[in-house]
Point group: C2
Chain length 313, copies 2
Amino acid sequence: MSYPHNSVVILGLGLIGGSLARSLRATGFSERITAWGHREPSLARGVELGIIDSYSLDLEEAIVGADIIVVATPTLTAAQMLNTLLPLLPADGSLSVEGSSSAEGSGPVLTDVASVKGSLRDAVVTERGSMPAKLILGHPIAGSERSGVEASSVDLFQYHRVILTPEPDSDPQALDLITRMWDSTGADVVSMSVAQHDAVLAATSHLPHVLAYALVDALAQSEVSEDIFRFAAGGFRDFTRIASSDPTMWKDISIANRQALLEAIDSFDTHLQTLRAAIAAEDADALMNTFTRAKESRDRFTALLAARKSSQD
Amino acid sequence: MSYPHNSVVILGLGLIGGSLARSLRATGFSERITAWGHREPSLARGVELGIIDSYSLDLEEAIVGADIIVVATPTLTAAQMLNTLLPLLPADGSLSVEGSSSAEGSGPVLTDVASVKGSLRDAVVTERGSMPAKLILGHPIAGSERSGVEASSVDLFQYHRVILTPEPDSDPQALDLITRMWDSTGADVVSMSVAQHDAVLAATSHLPHVLAYALVDALAQSEVSEDIFRFAAGGFRDFTRIASSDPTMWKDISIANRQALLEAIDSFDTHLQTLRAAIAAEDADALMNTFTRAKESRDRFTALLAARKSSQD
């Protein structure tokens, strides 16, 4: 018997939490969608927009009757949020939350949306000794340059990946439930280990952001900075777009995924120094080999994206 | 009296040369547009498409009667092209090319479109002792992922910058003529020194390309490379798009602009190492300061681009 999902409680109604609520409402995945948060205006706006049924500013009250609880607070506060939340719940699988429609003795299934998983798991294990079996960490790879519930959209997750990072002793039914929840939003759900998630995200997202910030900052402080921005063209615009991302969020992510990010920076820097040496030596063959190999990889990525998109049309 | 521009000869009919021909034809800037090149099929196709009036595979024959000669061959061959071309012309301003409609004794005005200017000037000065007064080096900041005359377009230069790098003893009328030629294509023409051009282009274009190639190559060789490309999202796609650029062209540019590029790489690397240290030390304030400063610069750039575009609409 699979776990029920009549009631979903979203903790933090921003871009991600709001978009999830919109999507679960649109597909009818849950009968009841409610939210908790610190800022009443955002929550009231969520009710006004029809995104959630109701809200509470009191965490204990908010989670009464929950089948699924989604921690959708920012990355750096997710650990604290989980460690505040877990003591309010029954020990893993032994008791149900008062009024829950979940199977007797099962309690709600928990998940989150934070961009880094290792630091979150460590924080929970440090506090509680082990990972609760019904806590399935997850990360929807979706976002927007805008933030807040007003920017939320029903199709934010469509065609996007959601990575879940279950542990060896995670509850398989809990994993199944969170998988089905994200499936219903149109996302492509995959599972991998926490370490793999953090390494992949460091490489594909966190490192590029650090490089873009470093480049724009270096140029802004150069002697020719005025001309740099006057004469920059399309390639530069695309390359530096992510340097316009929210500094607070990226400061948090950089620290939370510190270890994997430092490894990614060092690996990148080794390759950059090799290229630098080839340029200094005017080694045309070495440059040609590296650029050609990189272009082939990038072209494969383009083809892969095109195939993924068309298979979902 | 300004120099005539009845006859424009384009050496190398690729994306840039072909687009320039289309544009000059559309605006009626020149009565006669002809071309020279190594590959007859491209030139014949140019005539077929109505882009040029005629062509020659013989350089001496091709430049007879030229008012303007545009060297539009690739960056690395531009120097050799100029040094082959210059001996065929009269000494600066002393003689006219046979049959030229130029003012008696003036000879044609020369320009080019290469991405790097310093190495080109050095090659000419080494060969000839000085820069000819009627050679005005230039660089249209425009391009496409496609190449060849088939990819050329009449509006490639519209709303784009063209940088000219006249020397202190350049002929003012020659500079005026080349300025007006690019003006007629809808481009925004500006002048700066060769050194400034090469520094600005190293920072805004050549360095980002090297970083994108280094990143994609580093990721392709990592242990998680398969997952990296599977789970990469929009930010990564934009950030690495330029790694799909033509390896031959970027190998040439990297070597031609070696000195300015090495300085740009080192300046970038200093900033990256500072950020790395802040991440390693979990220095939230330092990260926040740098990311915020970079975001502000990038946002100013976005505003500047928007203003530039709207002023031209």
